[in-house]
């Protein structure tokens, strides 16, 4: 579906912020009646990154931005700022308008937020690429940030061991080395909107339903995208699946019969950072581009998924 590689929108740089403050999961095991074996092999998260109490999504985004190396572009050229979040500073204004102000961006820059969960990055990068093509834009910033420590009940065994705070910002450009979205596949499981929900500031998760949905929908989605582009699983260098849990990743790996090296799980030390999990992994690939062709797949809130086939271009 990608027609013009030469000038295609690509993720050319990524900045990341994972709060240095960590809370250990080992301390919580006894209270939840869970052993270390279960923690390591099913959950896969030994400590969670936790933001400062007074930090909001916009603060974490700014810290991710300060990690971004913008290659030969100054801020006056940025044409879109989009923040993917379901934990905004407040609902009005959108977080991107706050970042626009704090970063001193020009009046010609559009701002809007996208409300999407763990599939937020794959939605966002596809939507922004499309919009940039339509508007003939050359420069955009896609932020992801969902500080779940604000909404996770520490006494809730279903969620307390999983999520970490973090933020990422992707610079989308038409030049330089970067990953471009070749094709994508999205969907929403019917009758599944409440498997992840937040009521009165508290997150509820039906972990079983999330697991079943992901196990059922992700593999065919991956195969659809590959098939549509004349590719097979063997043509993909790495599969960056959203790290919902280690058990989740293992199930997907097994279902698709993929070897371990092609399916990384890199969140042991800080947890599931929701929409930032995939760009955090992608940043490492971008900095050492050994991998030419990747499949990114996020899934969660909605229940939705988003699968992107991305290719390294320069």
């Amino acid at each position: 579906m990608l027609e013009n590689v030469e000038n295609a929108v690509r993720v050319a740089a990524i900045g990341v912020y994972v709060p240095p403050r960590r809370e250990s999961n080992f301390e919580l095991l006894a209270g939840f009646g869970v052993d270390e074996e279960f923690l390591r092999h099913r959950i896969g998260v030994v400590s969670r990154s936790v933001k400062e109490e007074n930090e909001r999504a916009s603060d974490l985004c700014l810290k991710a931005f300060s990690d971004l190396q913008l290659p030969g572009v100054d801020l006056s050229q940025i044409q879109i700022v989009c923040v993917v979040t379901q934990n905004p500073d407040r609902n009005i204004p959108h977080v991107s308008a706050v970042l626009h102000e704090k970063l001193g961006l020009p009046s010609s820059c559009m701002t809007f937020d996208l409300s999407q969960g763990c599939a937020g990055f794959t939605h966002g990068v596809t939507i922004l690429s499309a919009l940039m093509d339509r508007m003939h834009f050359d420069h955009a910033l896609l932020f992801t940030c969902d500080p779940y420590s604000q909404i996770v009940d520490k006494r809730d065994k279903n969620t307390a061991l999983l999520f970490g705070d973090g933020a990422a910002v992707s610079y989308l450009s038409r030049t330089g080395t970067g990953y471009t979205v070749v094709d994508a596949d999205f969907g929403t499981v019917p009758g599944s909107s409440s498997c992840l929900r937040c009521d009165e500031g508290r997150l509820y998760m039906n972990g079983r339903q999330v697991f079943v949905n992901a196990s059922r929908e992700v593999p065919p989605s991956v195969l659809r995208v590959l098939d549509r582009n004349g590719l097979t699983l063997a043509d993909v260098d790495q599969f960056l699946f959203h790290p919902g849990s280690r058990h989740m990743i293992e199930a997907l790996k097994k279902n698709l019969q993929l070897d371990g090296e092609r399916v990384p799980f890199e969140t042991v030390e800080f947890g599931n950072t929701v929409s930032s999990s995939i760009p955090i992994m992608l940043k490492r690939r971008l900095e050492r581009p050994d991998h030419r062709q990747l499949v990114l797949c996020g899934f969660g809130v909605g229940f939705t998924w988003g699968t992107c086939l991305v290719r390294l271009i320069s």
Copy 2:
């Protein structure tokens, strides 16, 4: 910028819901020290539509949907549901996932919400058109709904007389008679993110700053879009400006030296419905398509604006 009219994405049908319950502004005049003359000529809203206490954004969206005449398409073909709102039922999941469930939409349908205010429709229709082109999609639903009665403080003179509740749904298609986005212009005023904000459930508006921003940014934005497409103000049949207030509309009309008939103000009986104000007006044009070429311009929260040049195609 529109390359292929034949197959272009167009707004082919619109459904609207404005709650029948009205609250009169006349009763509030004395308390605010405002006279009828001011109400009629500056505010321009004599009564406000108010939803039922327990109704949420998704409920209003469903009522708008029941007003939609879907031409020859069944729901199993819908590929995107997007809700533009800054007053969602809750932050997780997105409202579009709730609608997906309630409307019984298929698993191949993507869902996400856009956080944008009074410029939300122009952002949404441009973003969805772009995404549909990129994904080769044929059918999408774009909802707008921002029930401000939830956040307006009835004692606040700056906001209590202005906003009405409402919802709209636009069906985007590649066939039939409809309005297609030819070109668009977006922006965000630097340092202006707090001119409209919601803190702890209460809306604050710096009316002066909103008025100054709109007066300064909207006219050049309209002229930019026209100029880029080889058009002048005379080529536009109607200008559907977001009805922030009658005074606002009059100021824009005067600034651009437009005659009254080309700049409607149709919210006297129900108020400013935020992102639904433009689709509510557009629905009337779509049902009696006397007007071939329109400029739509929304502006507000952010402070942002979005201007679309749209053209009737069939």
